[in-house]
């Protein structure tokens, strides 16, 4: 099971956090501090795993962004590494060549996508296409809703209320 997902920039800035196990706000800050201290200082040739508090944290660097996932001792690290990559590929598809900037300003979208990939700390969908389709379906509704305020149908709805 994945306990949490962290996206940290190389400068140690938090880009996204998702907690699947309960952590208080205080613990969260501590976790982030500890892990960014450990991970950001690691050299390039070392392996992408760190052991931490009896868990394992699998991280992968994409440009200046570190994607980290915390897993149990008995989980398969290489698989998690690929789950990270799977997520990044979906992000890439969604944003069209994703960059850190996309995630900075659209972090809520990154959350939505993450919610389609992982649920309750487990990989729920391993087909990129399915995820993409679902996210697109939601987006099209959202796009529609954006225009809602100005749309005539809304005015009619208001009037007939």
């Amino acid at each position: 099971m994945i306990h949490f997902v962290l996206l940290i920039s190389r400068q140690g800035k938090v880009r996204l956090t998702k907690w699947y196990s309960p952590y208080s706000q205080k613990e969260r800050s501590k976790v982030i501090r500890e892990l960014s201290g450990m991970i950001l200082t690691r050299g390039p040739k070392l392996c992408n795993f760190v052991e931490w508090r009896g868990f394992k944290v699998v991280y992968k660097r994409y440009a200046s962004l570190y994607f980290c996932m915390c897993i149990n001792q008995e989980d398969n690290e290489l698989e998690v590494l690929e789950i990270i990559h799977h997520y990044v590929e979906i992000l890439d598809r969604y944003f069209g060549s994703v960059c850190e900037l996309d995630l900075i300003f659209n972090f809520h979208k990154a959350y939505y996508i993450l919610d389609e990939v992982l649920i309750a700390g487990e990989l729920q969908e391993s087909s990129k296409k399915t995820v993409a389709r679902l996210v697109a379906a939601q987006d099209s509704l959202v796009e529609a809703a954006k225009e809602e305020a100005a749309s005539i149908s809304n005015i009619i709805a208001q009037a007939t209320k």
């Binding site: 982030i32 070392l46 392996c47 795993f49 890439d92 391993s126 149908s153």
Partner: protein, 951 residues
């Protein structure tokens, strides 16, 4: 609220994100966030905030919370937003609450009703959003409120919903297996779902269930094997392929399940052999995912009944892992080796050298893993080497968690395999000296017991030798002022018990040492207590032996001091000691028999020596003692405490909607008939009579109407948070809202086009280049892969140390290039992004690298993606920005550099070219101009970057 740029947020929000991005220190960031919190606190409570604005506030709250600050003041608004009818807002609300609230938060009770309603929605996206929220928010107490609906959704026509329903049920099972136990048969059924996604999701709960108990699932072995076979034969849709491997995540999950099912079960295992063998043969060892499957196969093979043939294949695979250059694979190899040696200890020997290499490796993770392997491999023949290594490692690390773990492993191994007493005592001393405060106090007690009891053989000579070598070594180190408390306790006890036993040291010498200990640790009452008792023993043994005894003066003064101590324990010990001083040798020997720490002390629980006293008291009119459990009338507190509130369903909350109130005014009967399904209550027989017997108004006000079960009414809450219309006439308003929603959804589809066309307003030539570079660096340029292969041959440069990077940036690229894992075949179906996503040196000085970029582009060696590729342009214009990106330069820089790295990698020599500006000069100027236009001071983040670009 003008939507600035393509991000759909207000300028204010973009400014916030930007300023956070520019913050140079954590404290500056905190200041900005605190200010933002103040602003939001003020704004969010203003009346009549437009919904869109509110949505942005909620997203800003998420942002604040993400940065580690407390946004709890706004939680209620997020909860409120989940009640909204528009999916956009609802989704934002759900996102926010799932991020904000833990499963035990008080506000969850307010969301349950909404979730219930949304689970019934005819829009599957609403249902999905609600199911997502279920997984995170529904706790043990609220599971009954939604479980029925979730189970029904397992049969939903949309696979996305079925999948999420499975996962939700799984999360319920994790929280409270008892409330889902009657439903687990559903998981079995879903295993044969038509959609592979649903089947894949079902494997998660099944895995958990099988972990708990294997036996009920033995019958599924054949199904799992069959599924795995089909997956491996690429029978699943192509979309489940990942880097040309068929549905690897499903394969891995299946292998995990099979490992459990086959463990210790020959019959089941035999069914698996063929398919595992097939998968191992087919697996693609060049790609990461292929290795992940391979690793899982090895795990499975080591768990099920061993098959010689498979073990051989597994050993070969491990050999490949260990020989690999990738640290990741080495790590996995060590892990796998640790699993396999349990079955066949000989395997490790072939890999000795590789293991040693890993042990010496600078990578701490790998080292740690190797120690774990060594721990598993320890025998009496190698224990000395291994434990010594482990202790050295333990001393070198600071992480208390692993220090503790290593220490306790050392202790365990030493106890189990110690070749000699002397070595054992020395080893324990070292462990305690360096990690004494971290080891479990039990370890200290174990050590004492071990010294007292000896190694179990009836060899008194060996035991006493162990003791005297312990005493000797302790006397040597006892003066060390930095000994941990637990260790000192052991020392005091051993010195007291055995200090004078072999006659080597005089009682006064030992006493003197013990007094020193008590003196040196005057703040630690436990040590002092140990020391005093030890002193007492030494004295007693002397006296019992009939030797002349006199108390040392320092011992006298210590006793006096302790008699006045504010610790009652110390006082008592001191007074006892004093009392003993006055007794004769015979009595003393009875009180403190020599070497009797292992004797059992018999206690007569009926305390017969008090009988006389009790009799006397009773005769004098005292009340007889009544045992606790026979006393009546007193509250039995323990019972109350132990009672688990969840065991009594009568006390649990009620989540079903109430019956539609029997209308007081007959005209209101009509809406009840046309009621939308959303609000039709789940009939609950136990409640029915209450409703009919109580006054009708009670049902409306939600006071529980005198029912025996006190329950919270959740739909009453909605009056407070929901639309104002709810409170007046809930029935009629929901129907209008429903209809409104459907019209919205239907009508606004066509608005899509217009919304798209509105977006880009400005030309973005410069910006798009930026983005292109970012993209290329994040997902790699087209040129990256082949070049990387080339660079692999230049491994000689890889020894360039990190510290020299700044000086020798010419050599840097090779360092980076060799760091890259063996390139996976071009499996990414992302076009230009192929294989570029791998890790790069974090030690690279980005700005030096940037210089390199300029050189290269001039030399024309690297196909720089700075040229405006038309496809990227078009992509970019879609995600328009208004140039805000420029302000994010500090974020972009590394991205650019990464890409640069890759381009520069193959040809380090080119980097030596002088810093003349090539075609990229114009870009640089453009970029700088834009940045200045945005008001960013080039020197603020990194002077190098900008000055270099300008030349």
């Amino acid at each position: 609220m003008g939507s600035q740029g393509g991000f759909g947020q207000s300028k204010e929000f973009l400014d916030l994100v930007k300023s956070i991005g520019e913050a140079r220190s954590k404290s500056e960031e905190d200041r900005i966030v605190l200010h933002e919190i103040e602003t939001l606190k003020r704004r969010i409570n203003e009346p009549d905030i437009p919904k869109r604005k509110m949505k942005e506030y909620i997203i800003r709250l998420v942002y604040i919370e993400m940065l580690g600050h407390d946004a709890s003041f706004g939680y209620i608004h997020a909860v409120k937003m989940t009640h909204d009818d528009s999916l956009l807002l609802k989704r934002t609300g759900y996102l926010a609450v799932t991020l904000f609230l833990n499963e035990d938060h008080d506000l969850i009770i307010l969301i349950v009703n909404t979730i219930q309603k949304d689970l019934k929605s005819d829009n599957f996206l609403v249902v999905c959003a609600a199911l997502n929220a279920c997984c995170k928010l529904i706790n043990e107490e609220t599971i009954p409120a939604v479980i029925q609906q979730v189970v029904e959704l397992l049969g939903h026509q949309k696979e996305a919903v079925r999948k999420k329903a499975v996962m939700a049920l799984h999360s319920f099972h994790q929280r409270s297996s008892s409330s889902v136990n009657h439903l687990i048969s559903n998981f079995r059924k879903k295993l044969s779902d038509n959609d592979p996604g649903v089947m894949g999701a079902t494997l998660c709960p099944l895995y958990d269930l099988i972990v708990i108990d294997v036996n009920p699932y033995k019958d599924l072995v054949a199904s799992f094997v069959n599924i795995l076979k089909q997956v491996a034969e690429r029978r699943l849709p192509k979309t489940y392929d990942y880097h040309q491997t068929p549905a690897p995540f499903i394969q891995i999950k299946l292998l995990k399940i099979m490992a459990l099912l086959g463990s210790g079960d020959k019959k089941s295992s035999e069914q698996m052999y063929t398919v595992i063998g097939d998968i191992m043969r087919k697996s693609d060892t060049a790609s990461n995912i292929g290795n992940a499957i391979l690793f899982e196969c090895i795990c499975c093979i080591s768990s099920i009944q061993p098959s010689p043939k498979l073990l051989e294949t597994a050993a070969d695979a491990i050999a490949k892992f260990l020989k690999s250059d990738s640290h990741n694979l080495k790590y996995m190899g060590i892990d796998a080796l640790g699993r396999l040696i349990r079955i066949n200890p000989d395997i490790a020997e072939q890999h000795q050298l590789a293991v040693i290499d890993c042990l010496e490796d600078p990578d701490d993770t790998l080292k740690r893993k190797t120690f774990e392997l060594l721990y598993k491999m320890t025998k009496s023949s190698n224990v000395e080497v291994i434990v010594d290594r482990m202790i050295d490692y333990m001393i070198s690390i600071n992480d208390s968690h692993y220090k503790t773990e290593t220490a306790s492993r050392c202790v365990e191994l030493a106890e189990q395999f110690a070749p000699s007493n002397h070595w054992f005592i020395q080893t324990m001393n070292k462990v305690f000296q360096h990690a004494g405060d971290l080891v479990n106090p039990k370890v200290a007690h174990n050590l004492m017991r071990l010294i007292a009891e000896g190694f179990g053989e009836d060899d008194d000579a060996a035991d006493s030798q162990l003791r005297s070598s312990a005493v000797e070594s302790y006397l040597k180190i006892v003066d060390d002022p930095k000994l941990p408390s637990a260790f000192l306790q052991v020392i005091c006890w051993v010195l007291g018990e055995y200090g004078t036993a072999d006659g080597k040291y005089s009682a006064s010498y030992i006493s003197g040492k013990l007094c020193d200990v008590a003196e040196a640790h005057s703040s630690d009452d436990i040590i002092r207590a140990y020391a005093v008792t030890a002193l007492m023993k030494v004295y007693c043994f002397e006296k019992a032996a009939g030797r002349k005894t006199s108390l040392l003066p320092e011992c006298q003064s210590l006793l006096e001091e302790l008699s006045a101590s504010h610790s009652s324990d110390l006082q008592q010990r001191a007074y006892e000691f004093r009392a003993i001083l006055d007794l004769d040798a015979n009595a003393v020997e009875n009180i403190m028999p020599l070497d009797a720490s292992c004797e059992d002390i018999e206690i007569d629980k009926s305390l017969p020596f008090l009988d006389n006293y009790v009799h006397k008291s009773l005769e004098q009119g005292a009340e007889p003692y009544i045992p606790e459990n026979e006393r009546s009338g007193t509250l039995n507190i323990s019972n109350i405490i132990n009672r688990n509130p969840y065991e009594h369903p009568a006390h649990s909350l009620r989540f079903e909607a109430y019956e539609v109130p029997k209308p007081v005014v007959p005209t209101k009967l009509t809406p009840a008939v046309t009621y939308p399904t959303d609000l039709v209550p789940v009939p609950e027989p136990s409640y029915q009579p209450t409703l009919s017997s109580g006054p009708i108004s009670d049902a409306g006000s939600g006071s529980g109407s005198g029912s025996t079960e006190l329950r919270l009414r959740l739909d009453g809450v909605q009056k407070k948070w929901g639309k104002p219309a709810y409170s007046s006439a809930a029935a009629s308003s929901t129907s209008t809202i429903d209809s409104q929603r459907t019209t919205d959804n239907g009508a606004t589809q066509s608005d899509n086009v217009t919304s798209k066309s509105r977006e880009p307003r400005q030309p973005h030539v410069e910006v798009s280049e930026e983005k292109q570079k970012l993209a290329a660096s994040l997902f790699g340029g087209r040129t990256a892969r082949p070049e990387r292969k080339q660079s692999g041959s230049a491994a000689g440069h890889s020894k360039v140390s990190r510290t020299t990077n700044h000086v020798e940036d010419k050599a840097q690229p090779t360092t980076v290039a060799t760091a890259v894992q063996p390139p996976p075949p071009d499996l990414l179906d992302l076009g230009e992004s192929s294989g570029a996503v791998s890790s790069y040196s974090s030690s690279v000085d980005p700005f030096k690298q940037l210089e390199g970029l300029l050189d290269l582009s001039q030399d024309g060696h690297a196909v720089t993606t700075t040229s405006t590729g038309p496809d990227l342009m078009s992509l970019y214009s879609g995600a328009s920005t208004n140039g805000q990106n420029q302000n994010q330069n500090q974020n972009l820089n590394p991205l650019i550099n990464e890409k640069d790295n890759m381009n520069g990698a193959p040809n380090p020599s080119n980097r030596t070219a002088s810093l003349t500006k090539g075609p990229s000069l114009k870009d640089a100027l453009d970029k700088d101009a834009l940045v200045r236009q945005m008001g960013v001071n080039p020197t603020s983040q990194n002077p190098n970057l900008f000055s270099d670009l300008l030349g």
